[in-house]
């Protein structure tokens, strides 16, 4: 009898912990525009066509509306998402409230220049083959911390995986990145340790 109780408790709680809890912990938003990286990479070139370094070495991050306006002052095609871009953002001059999958908590200091320029890491190492994707995926965020799910990683157990391990190509050849990388402190630390770079606290926590 106690064993039956134990098993029932165990099963229920394992179910809750593994399956119900992640459902409750994360909520989901869609990006304001369904953006095709693939299309733009073909048009504009490499990642740094839009995500460039400024003259002073700082990283521009997500392009501002001004970059979009350079080509999309008026719609150049027929795509409904482009029409939406022009009507809702370009015309009123409103910045697009992109949701940033890879944004670290504020207590983390991260320099793109140090990683991309000095250590010569490829964007894909951390961000996965996002340049191949045709659609933006949903942005999931943690209800306690408010941060993107990509930081912890999509594996609720916190198992480390690289972003590209999760990308899938469907029958039509479109690439989907369903469950991208982890970007926890351990992931930074592993690489820092491997490369023998400084892994003191103050490197990332100023």
């Amino acid at each position: 009898m106690p064993l039956a109780g134990f098993s029932a408790g165990l099963v229920v709680c394992l179910f809750v912990g593994w399956l119900v809890f992640p459902q409750i912990l994360y909520s989901e938003k869609t990006q304001p525009i369904d953006f095709s990286h693939k299309l733009h990479v073909d048009e504009v070139g490499e990642c740094d066509g839009c995500h460039y370094f400024r003259e002073d070495g700082s990283f521009s991050g997500i392009p501002r509306l001004a970059s979009c306006v350079e080509c999309h002052e008026e719609a150049v095609g027929e795509h409904p998402e482009e029409a939406k871009l022009v009507a809702e953002y370009v015309k009123p001059g409103k910045e697009i409230p992109w949701l940033v999958y890879a944004r670290q908590p504020d207590c983390v200091y991260f320099s793109h220049a140090a990683h991309v320029k000095m250590a010569e890491l490829d964007c894909v190492i951390c961000h996965g083959p996002i340049g191949d994707s045709d659609h933006t995926r949903p942005y999931q965020y943690n209800l306690i911390t408010g941060y993107s799910r990509d930081i912890w990683g999509w594996n609720i157990a916190g198992m480390s995986k690289n972003a590209w391990d999760y990308s899938q190509t469907d029958e039509s050849g479109e690439v989907h990145i369903d469950s991208p990388a982890r970007m926890k402190m351990d992931d930074c630390a592993i690489c820092h340790e491997e490369k023998g770079t400084n892994d003191g606290c103050f490197v990332c926590h100023k």
Binding site: F6, V11, V16, F21, L25, I144
Partner: protein
């Protein structure tokens, strides 16, 4: 299955254990722990600048007369950091704590968000937001009414300084409108300016070549605490210490208290407070007696060193005789409490140094001080001939607003401007003094020169900074119309009827004249590095609008379209350079050579001030024409008030018109400010005599006021003396800034200097009585 009690317990316990195991082997507890820790490290309510493009913009800081160059780091339009500007001639990358805290002043809750009209009783903090048109309209209506009734002279302006285009606009406004009452806030510069005027015939401010001096004798100047142009002086100080001028300079501090400057000096001499002039003259005695002075300078370029006779055959005592007869080391030792041998040793060391420099101006120089004391110290520089020379003291003429058209004064303006000033400056009694910033409250209270009907305050906080706060409050209460142009809700704004808030200094364009004490003229430029955060307006524009709306000759005096046009026109050909570089430095400026440096009646440096007679000041005794020691009494009866209270200025606190934001107050020691309770310093011996122990609550009382304080025992302060930090005890601003400690100015009174009428107060008699309890004030 029958559910009996036993089965129930078995299932429950088993179930609980299973649940525990299930939860443990699921990610839930670990993930929640991690998330909570992330959450606590990034409280969502802690403001964090939004992500965005980082940029840097150069400007100048004007939170004190230091005029440092700054570089502002911004993320998009949000300022995130203020740093010292590399390569700026004043501070080359350095910044002080207040300058760095400029951010808090920009974004803090003490900003005045829009024009405000008082809605409740004065000082009740009840305001009504009004439009700029209404606010300006009210000022214009009141000023037009007063002028129409022949009362233009009852309007007064109090400003932080009289240098730069905006203060000049106010002065011009008063001239065209018809009032003589332009007042600038007190500083040691008031007295030094007068001393230079009398001894050298110069209309100028004092300049010290600190960087090249080899022996610095400071009469209580807080060289590290924020004296003159603070960052520049601290940089000079590190040069003296490190000897990167090849030789290490010697620094001697004369002060009754072990300040930071005293602690870092080669020698610290604690003298009885208020006797510094006697010490200077004692040093002069030794220098003259031992012929250590610069005889060439004295013989050829000074007047009144030796006895002299006029054309009637009457003879007058010279400086030499006065000093030799009256200020022997024994006498001076008696007055100052410094031993004879120290006086003699100091005099010799000073006079024999290559480039000795005696500097004057107590603390940060926020009070005016005694004229004779200033002259006595300045006389030391003359004795060593270290005037207008590298490593010496020189003068810097004011940067005038050349090219502004003359003001045409109509009848109302002429008659208004011919009335006596409300502070009595420039009258027969005080003919040399331009304004008496600490005297006006008493004059207004005594109704000496009539009443003040309207007061306009810009870039100053007289309600807080003027000594004798009770008299100031009374004077304010008697003024029917008070207008503040303050950016912040400071004490004066809090007690005003109308606030027309100026842009913050990071939001506006304005010239910054040469920082105080610098030996080369520099014109700096405040630039709007961030867009205005609130509905504020540039006071330069506002004052011009007021003038234009008043019409007639007042409007005619302001033909410029707006302030920016005026500034560009004033700077003239140099505008492009100024705008691009952010400053213009006249590196080739050198003070005039001795032959034509002195514009006194004798065309020489005057130890004997002949100008005093020319102004019709019949003083009588020879003594009064010479730098001498005339004790400035500390107010109060020694029987009732057995101790002496002096102000102490700290490097981590602003002690002028700008309140110290939390960035500064948080840096104070727990023996300076604990919670909201202020410590006063007292020597352990004196404390024991008065039954006081460390951290004990006590009542500090002076003839001017009373305050609850905590006692800090400090070996570094002279017995019998209490020191109170300046710059705390704000009552306005907001909860973060107000209510911390006590305003030292509220406990001090004004003691007038006999010649200048300026405030010569250095301290006041006080008593300190224990009130029981321990550790904090109830």
């Amino acid at each position: 299955m029958k559910m009996d009690r036993r089965t129930f317990l078995e299932i429950s316990i088993g179930g609980s254990l299973g649940a525990g195991a299930g939860i443990t082997f699921s990610p839930l507890p670990w993930k929640i722990t991690d998330d909570l820790s992330i959450w606590t490290q990034n409280w969502p309510w802690t403001p964090v600048p939004a992500e965005g493009e980082v940029s840097h913009a150069d400007s100048v800081c004007n939170l004190c007369p230091g005029g440092c160059g700054i570089t502002v780091r911004k993320v998009e339009d949000r300022v995130t950091k203020i740093e010292g500007r590399e390569g700026y001639p004043v501070n080359d990358g350095g910044i002080c704590i207040l300058g760095a805290a400029g951010l808090q002043l920009l974004y803090g809750p003490w900003r005045v968000p829009s024009p405000l009209r008082r809605a409740g009783k004065r000082g009740s903090g009840q305001w009504e937001q009004i439009s700029w048109e209404d606010a300006i309209g009210e000022v214009v209506k009141k000023l037009a009414e007063l002028r129409g009734n022949g009362k233009a002279h009852t309007v007064a302006c109090i400003l932080g300084s009289d240098r730069g285009t905006v203060p000049h606009l106010f002065a011009r406004f008063l001239k065209a409108y018809g009032s003589p009452n332009f007042i600038r806030s007190a500083s040691s510069g008031d007295t030094y300016e007068l001393a230079l005027g009398l001894m050298q015939g110069a209309t100028a401010s004092v300049a010290y070549d600190l960087e090249q001096a080899s022996f610095i004798l400071s009469f209580g100047s807080g060289l590290i605490e924020g004296w003159g142009s603070p960052v520049r002086v601290i940089r000079a100080h590190s040069m003296w210490r490190s000897g990167n001028m090849k030789e290490r300079a010697t620094v001697v501090q004369i002060e009754p208290r072990l300040s930071n400057t005293a602690a870092k000096a080669d020698n610290w001499y604690s003298v009885n407070p208020g006797t510094e002039a006697a010490l200077a003259l004692g040093l002069a005695h030794v220098i003259i007696k031992e012929s250590l002075y610069d005889s060439n300078f004295i013989r050829n370029h000074t007047f009144g060193f030796d006895d002299w006779g006029d054309f009637t055959g009457k003879t007058y005592t010279g400086f030499k005789r006065l000093v030799l007869t009256e200020y022997s080391p024994d006498v001076v030792s008696e007055i100052t409490g410094l031993s004879r041998s120290k006086i003699v040793g100091l005099a010799r060391a000073f006079a024999k140094a290559k480039r000795p420099l005696a500097v004057w101006g107590r603390g940060k120089g926020t009070t005016s001080g005694s004229l004779y004391e200033c002259m006595a110290v300045h006389a030391l520089n003359a004795l060593t001939g270290n005037v207008n020379k590298p490593g010496g003291v020189s003068t810097l003429p004011p940067q005038l607003t050349e090219g502004w058209p003359e003001v045409y004064q109509d009848a109302a303006a002429c008659s208004g401007c011919s009335m006596p000033r409300m502070d009595g400056a420039g009258t027969d009694r005080y003919p040399f003094t331009r304004c008496l910033p600490d005297r006006w409250p008493q004059m207004v209270n005594d109704k000496k020169n009539g009443t003040i009907q309207a007061l306009l305050v810009h870039d100053a906080d007289p309600y807080y900074t003027t000594l004798d706060s009770a008299a100031v409050a009374k004077a304010f209460a008697s003024i029917p119309f008070v207008v503040s142009f303050s950016t912040y809700m400071d004490e004066t704004a809090h007690h005003a009827d109308l606030i027309l808030p100026n842009h913050h200094y990071l939001e506006r364009l304005e010239d910054v004249p040469t920082p105080i004490g610098l030996q080369k003229p520099i014109l700096g430029l405040l630039k709007p590095v961030v867009s205005p955060q609130f509905d504020t307006r540039h006071t330069g524009d506002v004052i011009m609008t007021i003038a234009k709306e008043l019409g007639g000759t007042v409007a005619d005096a302001f033909s410029w379209e707006d302030y920016e046009t005026l500034l560009k026109e004033t700077v003239g050909d140099n505008w492009d350079t100024l705008e691009e570089a952010g400053y213009i430095e006249k590196t080739d400026y050198t003070p005039p050579a001795w032959e034509n440096a002195f514009d006194t009646p004798s065309r020489k440096f005057e130890f004997y001030i002949t100008a005093l007679d020319q102004a019709g000041m019949k003083i009588g005794k020879d003594l009064d024409y010479l730098p001498h020691y005339e004790p400035v009494r500390a107010e109060g009866d020694p029987a009732t008030y057995p101790l002496t209270l002096i102000p102490a200025e700290l490097m981590r606190l602003a002690s002028g018109a700008i309140g110290s934001p939390p960035f500064c107050t948080k840096s104070l020691e727990e023996t300076e400010l604990k919670g909201n309770d202020l410590f006063v310093e007292i020597n352990p011996k004196t404390a024991a005599d008065h039954g006081l122990t460390e951290a004990q609550p006590a009542t500090l009382e002076t003839p001017k006021g009373k305050a609850k304080v905590l006692v800090h025992l400090f070996e570094g302060i002279m017995p019998g003396v209490i020191a109170i930090p300046k710059g705390l005890g704000h009552a306005a601003y907001d909860d973060y800034l107000a209510g911390k400690g006590v305003n030292a100015n509220s406990l001090m009174g004004v003691v007038e200097d006999p010649i200048s009428g300026l405030c010569a107060t250095w301290g006041i008699r006080a008593k300190l009585s224990p009130v029981g309890g321990h550790g904090h004030l109830g």
